[in-house]
Symmetry: C2
Subunit: 220 residues, 2 copies
């Protein structure tokens, strides 16, 4: 009985029920791109709407025409992020070879850190501050981890990988791979000249292959 999906006579505030126009799509993407930059390097509170608007080349009120609040921008970034972020975990195949599955998982996570460092930092900022804005989404993560942990546990039971706590295994993989995005500033300083290209990701991949493959190979 309330207004049907597409028939209401416009809401003035764009992101209402109606279909998005071309300009809306373009500008919203532009804003999200700029916001990702700003949020990921200053955190939620440290980021200002003016900064985002500047970077997007819009006036502040114009930006606020597309997103009602600063929090709305942040929300949307987080939502988009989590999907991609969990993809590698979803891909772990219960029927694959255990060590290669884990190795591939590490590779994929490392590629995400290399190709989407801002997203990684956005997420890290959020968790660091106690995850105030993403409690619910974390519960989806928990369910997924529970599911995948069972796979790891079964591999352990079958003697196909060394016994280990599946959740801590995941924690360690997240920690290390994301470290290359989140702590990039530190890593570059420590590596000096060697940290300049993207070679550090290949070195990391090599190191991690060795660590996890030897570390998890079942002891005979």
């Amino acid at each position: 009985m309330t207004a049907p999906k597409t028939a209401s006579p416009s809401k003035s505030r764009s992101q209402a029920t109606r279909k998005r126009t071309r300009i809306q799509r373009e500008k919203q993407d532009l804003i999200l791109e700029a916001a990702l930059d700003v949020f990921s390097s200053h955190g939620f509170r440290g980021a200002t709407i003016d900064q985002i608007a500047d970077k997007a080349g819009l006036s502040k009120p114009n930006l606020l025409y597309y997103f009602r609040t600063k929090e709305a921008i942040h929300r949307q970034l987080i939502d988009r992020l989590l999907d991609n972020w969990l993809e590698p975990l979803r891909k772990i195949d219960p029927n694959g070879d255990p060590l290669s599955e884990i190795q591939s998982y590490i590779r994929r996570k490392l590629e995400l850190a290399r190709d989407f460092p801002r997203e990684s930092r956005l997420f890290a900022n959020e968790i660091l501050q106690g995850a105030p804005r993403i409690r619910e989404e974390l519960h989806d993560l928990r369910d997924l981890v529970d599911e995948k942990s069972k796979i790891i546990a079964s591999w352990t039971r079958d003697g196909r990988i060394a016994p280990c706590d599946p959740k801590h295994l995941f924690f360690s993989i997240w920690a290390i791979t994301q470290h290359y995005a989140d702590f990039d500033a530190q890593i570059r300083v420590v590596l000096g000249r060697a940290g300049e290209g993207e070679g550090r990701f290949e070195d990391a991949a090599r190191f991690l292959d060795q660590l996890y493959v030897s570390g998890l190979r079942p002891q005979t």
Copy 2:
């Protein structure tokens, strides 16, 4: 020819050259304690002087009597932090048994994450945002890492641990151990009931012992 160390007739602003009074020591500690809380959970820009003053039970101008600026408080926290933070790394003994040295290093770092999570998050916040306020201190870290990397490399050369890139080995250890402090919010959600006590640190220690000892034991 300029004023000698302790003879100048007072500077009004306390932290000048003169000897600190009892009250100064007490209040400054109080402020730093409160500031650690606030900075570590909101980042530098997210933290406000009012918040810190409230938590310390002082008025804002009173707080600013002890530290001239917000940045001065932050600086001092960072300075205090880095010393303790690097201690475990300094303790790595070139003459010890390689695998036990690494194992002990991991243990000590994990204990720091358990006992000083706020310090870990303070540091993480800083690096995440590009380390704008601690560029110099990071160079000390680099020197120390260079030194300790040589030790690891020599162990590798002598066949006492598996060949590996020493710096990436350190990165992985920092990442994982600090993860338990920095990503605590996420870890608690994923572990559910099991994440409530401090048992997760023992589980982590067990997991990491296995991973690194098997992963780094020289292949025969």
